[in-house]
Symmetry: none
Subunit: 217 residues, 2 copies
């Protein structure tokens, strides 16, 4: 008396990934591939036609993006669970996805086994999320509820570190910062290393993005 298979629909514009996801799901007992599409232009008709229980939705797609696709699905069929797939743990998108009613949020690099777990999890009423994303969701939460302008610690950055982060945001290079502040290039490196640790990032672009999105400037 097996339960009927869980019907899974994939939206993913990268053909390689789409195919490997399809194969993964198709080859798993208890799951049934309802479809695997490269865009969500026809999402409104796809859903009633394919009747998925769970949708895996890539966030970054040309044309109608995943967030928009999510909204349309939820508008038509609120009961359908939608798990967002993304390469980034980007704050803004997480926020948008969560607001639009996403039921889970995973990174594309999630190993296949975890992905299958996640599908079962949503089916069981859970909400699969990577730890880092879960953290972001928690951080996002209090703000809309209580828009306190709390000058809560700028992510623990020291005054000097904030200053330098500000310059990064302005597009300054290490050299420019060193010259501008009259310190050595190596000192700039030191500061930036610490900023990276504290912000949990690994590149200037990530730091800039995080700074701008979290108002650390």
């Amino acid at each position: 008396m097996e339960a009927p298979a869980t019907r899974v629909l994939i939206y993913e514009d990268n053909p390689d990934l789409r195919i490997s996801l399809s194969q993964l799901l198709g080859g798993t007992p208890g799951l049934e591939l309802a479809g695997a599409l490269g865009n969500c232009q026809q999402v409104e008709t796809d859903i009633p036609r394919l009747r998925p229980d769970v949708v895996l939705m890539d966030i970054d797609m040309p044309g109608i993006n995943g967030i928009e696709g999510l909204k349309r699905i939820k508008a038509k069929s609120p009961g359908t669970s939608v798990v967002m797939l993304t390469v980034f743990e980007d704050n803004d998108r997480v926020f948008q996805a969560v607001c639009a009613g996403a039921d889970g949020y995973l990174l594309k690099k999630t190993p296949p086994a975890k992905l299958l777990d996640a599908i079962n999890e949503v089916k069981a009423g859970g909400a699969p999320m990577t730890p880092a994303i879960a953290r972001q969701v928690l951080r996002l939460f209090p703000k809309p509820v209580a828009p306190r302008q709390h000058e809560d610690s700028p992510a623990n950055l020291s005054a000097r570190e904030q200053e330098i982060l500000g310059l990064l945001v302005e597009g300054y290079s290490y050299k420019m910062i060193a010259h501008d502040r009259g310190i050595s290039l190596d000192t700039v490196r030191s500061h930036i290393k610490k900023i990276y640790e504290k912000l949990h990032v690994r590149s200037m672009t990530e730091a800039v993005s995080k700074a701008l999105r979290q108002g650390l400037t």
Copy 2:
């Protein structure tokens, strides 16, 4: 030298559980028991005194309850991570805890191994939650949020270029973009060169900054 041990502070009014948690943590390499207290009456002084990296906080305690303790910790020391422990997946408490800035939310029945994982997870910037609680958090999230929309200035960027700029903003490296989009590294270079020309910038950081500030995402 090894990384300094993670200092963990426990608030748990049940002596049995408090002791077994203490033993669990005390016997784990990389963790250091900063303290194990039966109430959070002195939370304001406990924190600076014991300087924990992570606090495990029982929600249901006599006197000052866990939510209140959490608030006080966050008021004094926003950088300290607090993981709530609870017996029930009660909606209202989850809501309150999340609003007060909890960094994780686990059930007391969580197996010891998972608990240790969770501590490492918060330390690494994650937010351990049980799936069911994660789902509640998502549901609690205020939906009526009007996402700003700007279809205004495509800034002359082609669709592909905007797409790639989006990835840059997310902190993607050339390599990651190439892999994700299934194109060669050199093609990524080409696109980015053109993006730079069109935006009049000369580095990833400038491009990211400009993109975020002008809503090109």
